[in-house]
Symmetry: C2
Subunit: 346 residues, 2 copies
Amino acid sequence: SRSINLAVIPGDGIGQEVVAEGLKVLSAVLPQDVKLETKEYDFGAKRYHATGETLTDADLDELKRHDAILLGAIGDPSVPSGVLERGFLLKLRFAFDHHVNLRPSKLLPGVATPLAGQPEIDFVVVREGTEGPYTGNGGTIRKGTPHEVATEVSVNTAFGVERVVRDAFARAQARPRKKLTLVHKNNVLTFAGHLWTNVFNKVAEEYPEVTTDYIHVDAATIYLVTDPARFDVIVTDNLFGDIITDLAAAVSGGIGVAASGNINPGREYPSMFEPVHGSAPDIAGQGKADPSATVLSVALLLRHLGHDAEAARIEDAVSADLAERGGLPARSTSQIGDALAARVAG
Amino acid sequence: SRSINLAVIPGDGIGQEVVAEGLKVLSAVLPQDVKLETKEYDFGAKRYHATGETLTDADLDELKRHDAILLGAIGDPSVPSGVLERGFLLKLRFAFDHHVNLRPSKLLPGVATPLAGQPEIDFVVVREGTEGPYTGNGGTIRKGTPHEVATEVSVNTAFGVERVVRDAFARAQARPRKKLTLVHKNNVLTFAGHLWTNVFNKVAEEYPEVTTDYIHVDAATIYLVTDPARFDVIVTDNLFGDIITDLAAAVSGGIGVAASGNINPGREYPSMFEPVHGSAPDIAGQGKADPSATVLSVALLLRHLGHDAEAARIEDAVSADLAERGGLPARSTSQIGDALAARVAG
Ligand SMILES: CC(C)[C@H](C(=O)O)[C@@H](O)C(=O)O
Ligand SMILES: CC(C)[C@H](C(=O)O)[C@@H](O)C(=O)O
């Protein structure tokens, strides 16, 4: 479409700073005839402290009217662990059925990695976003006593697994290497593991060109540091995806450049794009945060809305900027944003 | 005690080869007056195929009579995923209440790591071994249909969490740096997370000298590759421990040198010691496996039984051998075992 109606949620900590740069680059890359409308929302720690609210039904109704959502970061040490995560971030993913959590990992030229020998890294993780141990099922009895029992229930449905596995096969089919790896722990979590494995093997029959592979999650962390080049597309459960995408970000340039999309592929609801990093309160307000992860999340957003050429321009700009950084004096958040905006506009 | 009555389970694949070297080094290190008795058991894929059995009640009764168990590796592609894991390995851990799963990570001088810059790595993970998502709770309905639902239930008790947290605090207190990090995901798995966090904070009051720290499991994987030196002792849940100890092994010299103990600290049941690696059927029978992980597991076994000096001699020998390896031609499994036996005997 020739207009983008965007909900913007800067959030907490560095969220404010990085989102400003994301929007700067977005405005610069869009052709004149694409109208960009943005509306900012004040979700996060401040609103929680002021009102006790994290995300109301009325908020969801408002957000639903947008084409997409750009989020900076939500979370602050002043809020008890879990309140904003479950009450805002996960609530939004579940309410808007963001079942494809897309997290690409690409080690760009010139970017530092903790791994020796600058390995080739270019894969994408398709993390399930609405099931597994993230559903909030479970509970506590005899809380605070020596007889407390706390449970967490991982819920996995054929419906939920199949749709994300299909999405991953389609993505693998569209990539040059056409390889898809299922990551799970089917030798221990045998109920969920068998469901994932059976669905994966069944859908695989429809994609004879895609090479398939299975790795236990523990072994996957080994390969991510010893042989990341073996991965092309990975599909995995919500919790395993959470864990391995942080590791994937660390080895492919750090969370300063790791983008993600919480995608509702059928577009029944707006998808949400956010950097993998958190609100980093320790460096907030100092212009030290790298906005690249947010800018790359804007590229994912554009691709989701069908603006592929603009997405590619952003990715090329970030890549060129990172390649040049070694030679540049350290720059602030907004200086990096300015440089990227100039590149995509040029 | 002046005698060791050891159950030996070589198991599958390279298990046979590495256990032979572990026993060689054990015999060499023990003083003349310590009597070593070993009895070998044929658990694993072969027995499963022959009898359909993995571990019977009668087997458990037999094993129970030993002071400790040394295991090589269990698992073979000819056996469906989960059968030997749940039916043997986990069954044994649960039956013998191996609630402290101890996994030290130390990057020894001269040992290759996938990380750039040869960081300092010397920490130990205390992984809970009898709860969490490993209990086998959960199930499947409408199996094989489009309406299948599979659940996995993580079970966490104050009793189970407290005893492993206490063990970890005691270990941290006994180390020079006296630092203990809790790894969990308490912002999402809030029921189990709050139990772990509350118990951890409560026990911490009894250990004022121990510095404490909390990290989400996803962030922990980042630190393991960017700043592993920050860790001294880590205590964590069964599944998180499984995942981060494979990564820890990868960064600190690989699973060829990663040892583990499945410990029942009160000695109501024999503890079991095993390398972190699996049966590696692709290299089995070729003398290619590194027995160091098994030999280091023998050192953990000796320390558990109170033979501290002998444990230290083994660790020093492995360390010296690894430091020398760069200068040596590639050696076979038994050549490495011979070299280690000669060192500990000398
Ligand atoms: C903040 C938290 C709820 C979230 C998650 O666990 O999904 C984060 O770690 C992420 O990966 O987006
Ligand atoms: C083989 C499997 C059951 C086991 C586990 O998950 O505990 C292994 O990965 C380990 O870490 O010892």
